[in-house]
């Protein structure tokens, strides 16, 4: 675990390393946008230095000519190689 930062980090925001931010998201929902037209939403269970991630209760969202295709998966290991963006908190309903 990462030691809690003293107070709220209103000083230099980069006191929080990107990997620390992801570590703080373990156990919560995460929206993952891949390079290309694929997205996944799931509960983050763990990750490693390559940001390979173990996700639970996953919905995979694919853009196809027939519209959005959703796939549900219990638990996956997602390869970090093609991840573009991580959004802590999951995918907002209005999107």
């Amino acid at each position: 675990m990462i030691a809690p930062k003293k107070g709220n980090y209103q000083g230099n925001p980069s006191h929080l390393l990107p990997s620390e931010l992801i570590d703080r998201c373990i156990g919560s929902r995460m929206w993952v946008i891949m390079k290309g037209d694929k997205e996944l939403v799931g509960t983050l269970r763990g990750f490693d230095v390559y940001v390979n991630m173990v996700l639970e209760d996953v919905t995979e969202i694919e853009d196809t000519p027939e519209g959005k295709k959703l796939t549900k998966l219990d638990q996956i290991l997602l390869n970090g190689n093609n991840i573009a963006v991580l959004v802590p908190g999951g995918k907002p309903d209005f999107l």
Partner: protein, 95 residues
């Protein structure tokens, strides 16, 4: 489930996930969209995957099945998948 299994609320690193799914039924999805289903023989840190034909099993998954656009295209006894093509590895239930 057993050992490093799916206990909710517990951190699970990619390495632990890989240990836990060896010998289990898995779905491997590649970046190209091609799916493979079968019993995982072994894998390494690059997510290189060895798919082996199994002689045992209570279920019709002794060989590996390749699906393109959801359609069964091929069956393999043994095969190796180069890890850079892997999008995710998911444990699947025998249903």
């Amino acid at each position: 489930m057993e050992d490093a299994g799916v206990s909710t609320g517990v951190t699970k690193t990619p390495a632990e996930f890989l240990k836990a799914i060896k010998g289990k039924a898995v779905l491997v999805k590649l970046n190209s969209g091609v799916d493979y289903r079968g019993i995982l023989a072994c894998l390494d840190g690059y997510m290189n995957i060895a798919m082996e034909q199994t002689e045992v099993g209570d279920w019709d998954m002794r060989s590996w099945e390749e699906y393109v656009n959801g359609q069964l295209k091929n069956k393999y006894g043994d095969a190796f998948i180069r890890g850079n093509n892997v999008l995710y590895i998911s444990a699947i239930n025998k249903t």
